[in-house]
């Protein structure tokens, strides 16, 4: 069934995007634009795969242990990378766009050097234990959509469960209110006794953790291998998702599904055996991204388009 396959592939492709984008929503709501998601995802992908590889050899442990450790390592790798970002962007108040580009460039080089050191540059990529798909008991028996929606790995369900959590946090809790205020008017929230530097750093670290997990999904659930540069623009796509989703977790979920469809179609068309060059399908998600941004942006209200948090991308000086 083509429809079922498309739906299942869309959800699978949307999950890493959703994970990274949810973190980015929090970070951008607090006023930090994190262009380094791509790099944080790459670091996560490599560390996750490596951790899973080395823990899988230990006897007498459950097979799900390796991937779980891998996922944790992936998140931590993203977190540490975000720490560098936080130091440069929030503490030293450097330009966030330049730092983000540097982080991505760093990760591209670092992951290749480390991967070559650990696994060699020749031979086929090492395969690792990964998150198995399983069918949810009753739900997967629903005709038509059951198999497509309820036969995934655990991370897919967890990431979807996270959407309402992030929504609730942002719009119905006091810390969430502080985060949003921090992105709109940091001076005001500082006057009320909140520490803007600390708040933004926490948000950025969360974004890094989520991006790392998103990267880990690529190397631990999507395909159980790491290949250099495997994120292929997904980090930047997550950035576009946040803009298209108007910095709102629920809308971001919808946007992630749309872009997931873009990435899924490319795999499906390639498998369908049409007489069209595969590169045109590889191009699809990026063209989609441009079209969607064109359709959803406004004549500018501020630098990042309408409805962006007012202080997005502006370094905050606590002593000024």
């Amino acid at each position: 069934m083509l429809l079922e396959e498309t739906l299942a592939a869309t959800i699978n492709a949307a999950t890493p995007l959703l994970l990274a984008a949810l973190g980015e929503v929090i970070s951008q709501r607090s006023g930090v634009i994190n262009i380094g998601i791509e790099g944080m995802m790459l670091m996560g992908a490599l560390c996750g795969m490596t951790a899973s590889f080395y823990t899988s050899g230990i006897p007498l442990i459950a097979p799900w242990f390796g991937p779980c450790v891998g996922m944790l390592a992936a998140g931590l790798a993203g977190l540490v990378t975000a720490g560098i970002f936080a130091f440069l962007a929030i503490k030293l108040r450097g330009d966030q766009i330049i730092i983000g580009t540097a982080i991505t460039l760093f990760a591209l080089g670092f992951t290749q050097v480390v991967y070559q050191r650990l696994f060699g540059s020749t031979g086929s990529p090492k395969s690792v234990p990964y998150f198995q798909e399983f069918e949810l008991p009753i739900l997967s028996k629903i005709p038509l959509i059951g198999q497509a929606l309820f036969s995934h790995n655990i991370i897919v369900y967890l990431s979807m469960a996270l959407v309402p959590c992030v929504y609730f946090f942002l719009f119905h809790t006091q810390p969430g209110l502080r985060v949003r205020a921090c992105g709109e008017h940091p001076k005001a929230i500082s006057t009320f006794g909140s520490n803007v530097v600390k708040l933004r750093s926490m948000c950025l670290l969360f974004a890094g953790f989520m991006a790392g997990i998103g990267g880990g999904y690529l190397s631990l659930a999507d395909v159980p291998i790491f290949t250099p540069g495997m994120t292929a623009g997904r980090g930047f796509t997550a950035l576009a998702i946040v803009i298209f989703g108007k910095w709102h977790p629920i809308k971001v979920f919808g946007a992630a599904l749309l872009f997931g469809l873009g990435f899924a179609l490319d795999a499906l068309f390639q498998a369908s055996g049409w007489e069209i060059q595969y590169q045109w399908f590889l191009m699809l998600p990026y063209v989609l991204c441009l079209i969607v941004l064109t359709a959803s942006s406004y004549k500018k209200v501020n630098f990042y388009g309408g409805q962006a948090p007012l202080s997005l991308g502006k370094p905050y000086n606590p002593s000024a």
């Binding site: 440069l88 760093f106 670092f110 623009g233 930047f236 191009m283 064109t294 942006s297 406004y298």
Partner: protein, 363 residues
């Protein structure tokens, strides 16, 4: 955006400010970056000293090494100029990569197809090929400009997306597409016709006139940027768009001009690289020149003339990577890591410098 401090530095130091801003600071940044990088290399399990010596040997140890370093610097210089001009105007063009590739693609199309119908002389072939690349790169830049002006699409994302589109477009053209070589075996184009190739200046070495052209362009751009009305307007928009607009400078027009100019420079870089060095266009024609260009331009503090020096450094790094890979066995992609670390130190130094000047102006 406090990137105007990238440009100005701390002008409060009256004594030999040039020496401090243009020699000491970059040198300090480089030393810190190389030390940090050595630590990372060490923890990756390699010997940093041996790695650096191998790199130095290959990039500066012999006449042919120096020649290759010059050759490898040229694409960095062209894309670096492209980025410097755009950033000066406050335009975050991360798309030099895509513009570079599209320039090369247009030159390939001309050089393997159209050139057959023109007189077979280099005096006609080379200028037209270069013209094609300039238009292609410029048009790629204009897409982002138009999206930004009419719809407010953030150019950081649109240029990055165009990079991926350009990479796949080149791949589509040379791997199974209309520009693939006649034999259809490899994923590369036909070699360019002889009368579209740039000549070599000193035969066994690969030094070509494109290097000289790039340096001349750097000088011309410095003049344009600092001594003409156009350059003044461009800088004014970059440093304070609102003030510039209030003074009657059209931001829309400047955005269009600068995006075209920036794209054209990167596209020209692609054509020079193709016409001088690679007879074929391949899938992996650019190993990320456009991204490195950001580090090149920022290390040169967005000054076209200083970009020549920083491009030379990055060319040497790239050439040195061959030595590191051969001697120590470390992945050649280590250069990206080094570039990123340099970039981070530039950002850190800029911020610290900015604080320092703030503090001393307060006291």
């Amino acid at each position: 955006m406090n990137y105007s401090s990238v440009i100005e530095g701390n002008s409060h130091i009256k004594n030999w400010p040039h020496l401090k801003n243009w020699v000491l600071m970059p040198l300090l940044i480089l030393i810190c970056a190389f030390l940090t990088n050595a630590i990372v290399i060490f923890f990756c399990g390699y010997n940093p000293i041996r790695t650096y010596i191998a790199a130095l040997n290959v990039s500066f140890g012999s006449p042919s090494g120096i020649g290759e370093t010059l050759v490898k610097s040229t694409p960095f210089l062209m894309t670096g100029l492209s980025v410097a001009i755009a950033f000066r105007c406050g335009i975050w063009n991360i798309g030099a990569e895509g513009q570079f590739l599209l320039g090369a693609l247009a030159a390939t199309w001309f050089g393997t197809k159209l050139a057959a119908y023109l007189p077979h002389t280099a005096w006609i072939g080379i200028p037209i090929g270069i013209g094609f690349s300039i238009v292609a790169g410029g048009m790629c830049g204009l897409i982002s400009a138009v999206l930004k002006i009419t719809r407010g699409v953030n150019e950081v994302i649109s240029t990055i997306m165009l990079n991926y589109i350009a990479i796949n477009l080149v791949s589509a053209m040379v791997d199974g597409g209309p520009l693939q070589e006649a034999a259809k075996t490899g994923s590369q184009s036909n070699p360019l016709y002889e009368w579209v190739k740039l000549p070599r200046l000193f035969e066994p070495h690969r030094i070509h006139p494109g290097i000289i052209l790039a340096v001349i362009l750097a000088v011309v751009l410095t003049y344009v940027l600092f001594r003409t009305t156009f350059g003044y307007r461009l800088r004014a928009v970059g440093e304070g768009p609102e003030a510039a607009q209030a003074a009657g400078i059209s931001i829309t027009r400047n955005t269009l001009y600068v995006f075209f100019l920036s794209g054209a420079l990167a596209g020209l870089g692609g054509a020079i690289e193709l016409m001088a060095l690679a007879p074929h266009l391949t899938k992996n024609f650019s190993p990320g020149y456009g991204y490195t260009a950001i580090a090149v331009a920022l290390l040169a503090r967005l000054n076209p003339l200083a970009t020549v020096a920083s491009a030379l450094l990055f060319g040497a790094l790239t050439q040195g990577a061959f030595g590191m890979e051969a001697e120590v066995g470390i992945s050649g992609k280590i250069t990206w890591m080094m570039q990123a670390i340099i970039l981070m130190f530039v950002v850190a130094a800029t911020s610290l410098n900015y604080f320092q000047s703030k503090r001393s102006s307060e006291s």
